[in-house]
């Protein structure tokens, strides 16, 4: 099993979720994060004191899938989150050893 972790713009979350649903992915976990990459942030000024805000709000989507669905899911996310502008985000893929469904105690792929 694999963990697919996508860091995307908040604005694209709904599209990505639709794309995932279309790709047959039901389960996912979202976290509000802040990201810094090539995208430059903005300046906030409070009574003349300037603050460089270069950590921008992003959404992290984590999806665990069976190995053979990784490519489809990555493709779905890439397509839906793509705007072509700096800051579109990244996808990381990593290995997962085991999954447990707490409700039933099932383990492995059937628990996803």
């Amino acid at each position: 099993m694999r963990l697919i972790e996508a860091i995307i713009k908040p604005f694209n979350v709904d599209d990505v979720r639709s794309a995932l649903a279309a790709a047959g992915v039901e389960g996912m976990t979202l976290t509000e994060v802040k990201g810094h990459g090539r995208q430059k942030g903005h300046t906030e000024i409070y009574r003349g004191a300037e603050y460089q805000v270069d950590m921008l709000p992003k959404i992290k989507i984590e999806v665990i899938v069976e190995d053979d669905r990784v490519e489809a899911v990555v493709a779905a996310i890439t397509a839906a989150a793509h705007t072509g502008k700096i800051g579109d985000g990244k996808i990381f893929v990593a290995d997962i050893d085991d999954v447990v469904r707490i409700r039933t105690g099932e383990r492995g792929e059937s628990a996803i």
Partner: protein, 449 residues
């Protein structure tokens, strides 16, 4: 007890009976008083309301205005300080504060003696004051309440300068001592009536440019220098944690100021209404001015700038609001918007002190601007009610009183700070400061959303 503000008018009248604009006002005010010193229910209604409005400025107005500007971990410490001051000052005001500020025993017009600087204890614990006692057209006990709300907000204003780093115990001791040693005498000299030092000079301070804003502003400047900057200042960004809270507080301060200035006439009449009108005009003009300066400077007008401008305009018009006309309101609004902007941004950064929430830049400087300009726009030529003498003479008197107050306040504040530091220490531990005062001093957190 002698009644300050109405005396103020009578006193002006004494020296300028010919002044056309004053006569009618005097007639309206003095006649009923001479005929029978009776409570006016309309005036009483308005001063009851004004007392509620001015209390509202501190609870929760100022607390929210300041609280929104600090970091999340310190928000409760600000609210705590404002509310605790309301409690402590009320008790002090009852015990002897009101008496020392407004007792007139031994005072006489034109005579400068000890009682020109400080009142006695004849009304300590409100001794002799019942619900039947009268002061001009309102009950004496109402004068006590109304003035109490001013005594509460003045030390509360100072809180903004040492935000995020002062010990709560030190804050309480400092504020109590400061109220007694700075606020009470300055208030007495300015507002207690014939025989008061500033009063006899003819100083114009309608609702507290000197008594409230200059004292608080200068104390703030001294305090932030003595206590030192917040850890990380100015390199660590410390943006406001909740601008919506700050703006909410601004609205409450703005509305409450109708009572602060409008109530200081101690009557419900055209002068009170004019005070409210010029208050609004100055606030609006200063807010607009600050916003435009920011817009030009940074390409973006900010809501914090707009709000701060409004407060600057409100502070500045305070000493003048009872003597100027609409044009004076416009002028004071414009001047304070521009000058306080400069003092709170470029000047503060150049000088390097950490007046965390700009108490000096807004209240100190605003109070000074208004105190001086009251001597200009009070003149009939500018639509004011008319001055005792020339503009230059009046401005001189205003400058003198402002300067004396500033020097006196700075010296005493410095002394109190050193004493409190020796006694309990002014500043929290570095660890407590980085954890935040809410958890380390009060054992609470602002939000568990």
């Amino acid at each position: 007890m002698y009644f300050a503000r109405i005396g103020r008018l009578r006193h002006l009248g004494r020296r300028s009976l010919g002044a056309h604009t004053l006569l009618a006002a005097l007639a309206a005010i003095l006649v009923p008083q001479t005929a029978s010193a009776e409570i006016d229910s309309g005036a009483t209604a308005w001063i009851l309301t004004s007392s509620a409005l001015v209390l509202f400025m501190t609870l929760p107005g100022l607390a929210l205005f300041y609280g929104g500007l600090v970091r999340t971990k310190n928000v409760l410490s600000i609210l705590m300080q404002c509310f605790a001051l309301a409690a402590v000052v009320t008790i002090l005001w009852l015990v002897f504060g009101y008496s020392v500020a407004f007792d007139t025993t031994g005072m006489q017009a034109g005579t400068t003696n000890l009682n020109s600087f400080i009142g006695g204890f004849s009304m300590a614990f409100l001794s002799g004051v019942t619900h039947e006692s009268e002061s001009g057209s309102i009950p004496t006990i109402l004068h006590f309440v109304f003035q109490m709300t001013f005594a509460i907000i003045t030390p509360a204003l100072i809180v903004g300068t040492f935000a995020e780093r002062m010990k709560f115990s030190a804050m309480l001791i400092f504020s109590a001592a400061w109220l007694i040693l700075v606020y009470l005498p300055i208030c007495h000299m300015t507002w207690s009536g014939d025989g008061g030092w500033f009063w006899d000079m003819g100083v114009i301070d309608f609702a507290g440019g000197i008594v409230v804003h200059i004292t608080a502003g200068i104390a703030a400047l001294v305090t932030c220098i003595v206590i030192g900057p917040r850890k990380g200042y100015p390199t660590t960004p410390m943006p406001p944690h909740n601008m919506t809270m700050c703006v909410t507080g601004t609205g409450m301060l703005w509305v409450g100021w109708y009572g602060f200035n409008g109530g200081s006439e101690l009557g419900a009449n055209g002068s009170a209404a004019m005070a409210v009108a010029v208050t609004q005009i100055s606030a609006a003009t200063a807010a607009f001015t600050w916003m435009c300066i920011e817009w030009i400077q940074h390409k973006q007008p900010s809501v914090l700038g707009l709000a701060t401008g409004a407060i600057a305009g409100l502070a500045a018009v305070t000493p003048a609001s009872g003597v100027i006309g609409p044009m004076g309101g416009l002028a004071i609004g414009f001047a304070s918007g521009a000058i306080c902007w400069y003092a709170s941004t470029a000047m503060k950064q150049a000088l390097g002190y950490d007046d965390s929430l700009d108490v000096f830049g807004v209240h100190g400087v605003g109070g000074f601007v208004g105190t001086v300009l009251a001597g200009v726009f009070g003149a009939a030529a500018f639509g004011g009610k008319g001055l005792d003498g020339s503009i230059i003479g009046q401005v001189g008197v205003q400058l003198f009183a402002a300067a004396v107050t500033a020097v006196y306040t700075a010296a005493i504040t410095f002394g109190i700070l050193k004493a409190v530091d020796a006694l309990v220490g002014l500043r929290v531990e570095a660890e407590e400061e980085s954890t935040g005062l809410d958890v380390s001093l009060h054992g609470e957190t602002g939000y568990n959303l």
